[in-house]
């Protein structure tokens, strides 16, 4: 047997398991410590993706033990191998080797929470029926001891007939022993007899194993009981729940903002530096405005996203997320969804991307799709700058509704609208996709409260951030370059500018002139008839085209076209916008930004899916273009109709 090496020695990232390398799969219930163990075995080099053709996420990695490399597969958390949903079918198919392009495992590690052995050994029984080399890994043995339980690990191994090893994955205890065991996989012992076939007889089989191992069950966790008495109290629990939500948004919008501004300023000065340092104007524009400006506008959200994932990872690791799901299940069930969909909805108020990714925790694929199609309607932070600008134009600063500021109320109403429409959309999608009425049973384990390790929270917040950064580096980069090119090419020579009456030294006037005669303006004018019923003129349409990449682009595009010296300054931009008039058509000479147009624009932004990143992440999570296309289509129709409705109704009042 090769000697296991230090756990820090992992295979290089991205390496495929060499042909013929043994494949080991981890099978266990959710919350059982399976993922910590997987991270321990593979280091940070896990590959995440989807199983072919389904929306079930897959993570696999490599473990290097001695001279040999092992492929490690972290199967989705499950309580049974008998599938009750198409998603669970994946685990069964994987074990049978009937998944296309995915090879079946050579050995199976059943990861069992030792504080829940009476339940988790049931899964071992089902796995043993597969007659593959199987070993049992007991996790959370420290917690078992703390709660007054005990167990003879070796005796359990003798009774079950398979190798058993105890680990505390969070702290790395027992992982070395487990690596020895994996290296020895082809010599694992097998039980002389199969466990009983009937589920009803399994309880007796489990009891006999536990009796042989001298198992003392842990007492209910006193700490958890005490905390739950408050956190799940119908009154206090609900109040605390809303306080947690408030703090969540407070953190995102207030505490992350200074960091965000700092990054934004850094990108601006970098862009200015590049603009000054590069002599070629086209190249300087591409680097400064196109790449640094565009990607910078997205990277500015990194502090917010990191903070959000940190909070979500912390709440999840501590065990609060399942409590939140418990409290919200009744509300979510009115939309035909379950409590876990709430986490996705919540995340989507920061950004639809983590919202879509959080749908992974929902076991039913129909629920997942329904949630995924609803979350982009939640009021994400990219809508915030647009709302700030438009509400600033619509509601005077001194308007009061009772003791509350009119603008604040309008903003709150937009958030409510986002939440309500997201829930409604999910409900409708669920009604349409799930006409059979066959409901999956709802069950959810409430894990004891646990103090998370820095490492596990770190990994949980870093993985999705990495995915976001990778996307900013690819899709968003390409789109921003395209939009920059559309709005700035062809470049005008100084002579041409002078002939048109534009001072070539006045950067703002040059930008405005270039944009008005750019390809984007051509597009804006071409689509003007479509959006004219909403009150939008071609300049607003250019902003809409730009916002297809990311909503917040609309603000800087409008700012640039309004010839503001600082396109990010709301007050100045809105003062300029208010003077715009229609340049042609029946309303020529009339103001563009009348209240009805502003309401229409607000509603359009509330409902339209103007976010490449969301589309990209939906494609990744669903494994195809079908659902992102449906989402984009229905949201566009919704946005257009709502904007038209808003324009017409507001028109009745103000005209």
């Amino acid at each position: 047997m090769p000697a296991p090496v230090d756990a820090s020695c992992h295979a290089a990232p991205g390496d495929e398991a060499p042909a013929g390398a043994p494949r080991v799969a981890l099978i266990g219930s959710p919350n059982g410590g399976k993922t910590s163990l997987f991270n321990r075995l593979t280091g940070l080099h896990a590959k995440t993706g989807n199983y072919p053709g389904v929306t079930v996420s897959r993570s696999s990695g490599l473990a290097r033990i001695g001279d040999a490399t092992y492929g490690i597969e972290d199967l989705p958390g499950c309580y049974s191998l008998a599938p009750i949903s198409p998603d669970e079918q994946v685990v069964a198919d994987y074990l049978d080797g009937s998944l296309k392009d995915v090879e079946k495992p050579d050995a199976l590690l059943v990861v069992a929470d030792s504080t829940a052995l009476r339940r988790s050994l049931l899964l071992l029984a089902e796995v043993l029926h597969r007659h593959k080399p199987t070993a049992l890994v007991l996790t959370m043995t420290d917690e078992l001891r703390r709660r007054g339980g005990s167990l003879d690990v070796e005796a359990l191994g003798r009774a079950a007939g398979v190798p058993v090893v105890a680990v505390v994955a969070n702290r790395g205890i027992g992982v070395g022993e487990l690596r020895h065991l994996i290296a020895d996989w082809d010599a694992w012992s097998t039980p002389p007899l199969d466990p009983p076939d009937r589920a009803g007889e399994l309880a007796g089989w489990v009891d006999s194993l536990l009796a042989a191992a001298g198992y003392e069950a842990p007492t209910p966790d006193a700490r958890t009981e005490r905390i739950d008495r408050v956190l799940l109290h119908p009154v206090w629990g609900t109040i605390i729940f809303f306080a947690v939500m408030f703090l969540f948004f407070q953190a995102l919008f207030t505490w992350a903002a200074p960091l965000q501004d700092l990054l934004g300023d850094a990108f601006k000065s970098l862009a200015a530096y590049v603009d000054a340092a590069v002599p070629n104007r086209l190249l300087a524009g591409l680097l400064g405005n196109g790449i640094i400006g565009g990607v910078g506008a997205v990277l500015e959200f990194v502090p917010q996203i990191l903070m959000m994932y940190a909070i979500l990872a912390l709440l999840d690791a501590v065990g609060y997320m399942s409590r939140a799901a418990f409290l919200m299940d009744r509300v979510m069930s009115s939309a035909g969804l379950e409590g876990r969909a709430f986490v996705a909805m919540l995340s989507a108020f920061a950004c639809a991307i983590p919202g879509v990714m959080a749908t992974r925790t929902i076991p039913s694929s129909k629920d997942r799709i329904a949630t995924m199609l609803g979350v982009p309607l939640a009021t994400c932070s990219a809508r915030l700058p647009v709302y700030l600008l438009l509400i600033g134009m619509l509601v005077p600063a001194d308007a009061m509704i009772g003791p509350l500021s009119g603008r604040g109320v309008a903003m709150f109403a937009m958030y409510l609208l986002g939440g309500a429409s997201a829930m409604t959309a999910s409900w409708v999608v669920k009604k349409i996709t799930d006409r059979t009425g066959h409901l999956l049973p709802f069950y959810m384990e409430m894990p004891p409260y646990r103090i998370p390790t820095l490492r596990s929270v770190g990994i949980a917040m870093w993985e999705p951030t990495k995915a976001f950064l990778r996307k900013a580096g690819t899709i968003i980069l390409v789109v921003t370059i395209a939009i920059w090119a559309l709005t700035t090419i062809p470049f005008r020579s100084d002579a041409e500018l002078a002939a048109a009456g534009v001072d070539p030294t006045d950067d703002v006037a040059v930008t405005a002139y270039t944009m008005e005669h750019s390809a984007a303006a051509g597009i804006g004018k071409a689509v003007e008839p479509v959006f004219r019923p909403l009150g939008f003129d071609w300049r607003v349409d250019v902003a809409l085209v730009g916002s297809l990449a990311a909503r917040e682009v609309a603000v800087s595009t409008l700012g640039q076209m309004a010839s503001a010296t600082d396109p990010e300054n709301d007050v100045e931009v809105s003062a300029q916008l208010a003077t715009w008039t229609y340049s042609d058509g029946p309303n020529a000479g009339e103001k563009v930004f009348t209240p009805d147009t502003v309401v229409a624009l607000l509603l359009f932004f509330a409902f339209a899916l103007q976010c490449m990143s969301t589309i990209a992440i939906m494609r990744r999570e669903t494994g195809g273009w079908k659902w992102p296309a449906i989402a984009f289509g229905y949201m566009f129709v919704l946005a257009y109709s709502m904007a038209f409705l808003g324009h017409t109704i507001t028109g009745l009042f103000v005209r």
Binding site: Y79, S80, A82, P83, I84, T115, A116, L117, R118, R119, L122, L123, E126, A199, G200, L202, A203, A217, P218, P220, E225, D228, R229, L232, H233, P234, T238, S322, F326, L327, D329, R330, S333, G339, L439, P441, F442, Y443, M444, E445, M446
Partner: protein, 105 residues
């Protein structure tokens, strides 16, 4: 059905009708239950002979939490209706003051 001594009266009720803090022993999963759902409930620990207690109930008819197999499991009413438990109508239950609702065991 009852396997308890004749001197102790027992009754069989669906799991969903338990009060918070009340204990029972699972006697069967309803016969009209879909076999795959029935199997899943058993693999979650809701199998014949297991002691079970209701820990908590979410407000407005929301989900409920049970302690079974040393684990807290949350079920909706529809699933909790499928599991039948045997309650011992012991004087102990009647005499003891009811645990405060929602406050666990």
């Amino acid at each position: 059905m009852s396997s308890a001594p004749a001197s102790v009266k027992t009754r069989v009720v669906p799991l969903s009708s338990l009060r918070c803090g009340q204990r029972g022993v699972i006697c069967r999963v309803a016969a009209d239950c879909d076999s795959s759902v029935c199997h899943r409930l058993q693999l979650l620990g809701f199998s014949e002979g297991r002691a079970i207690s209701k820990v908590r109930q979410a407000p407005l008819g929301g989900p409920m939490i049970f302690r079974v197999c040393d684990v807290q499991m949350c079920l909706r009413q529809a699933q909790a209706d499928l599991v039948l438990v045997e309650l011992a109508d012991e004087p102990e239950f009647a005499a003891r003051p009811h645990p405060l609702p929602f406050h666990g065991v």
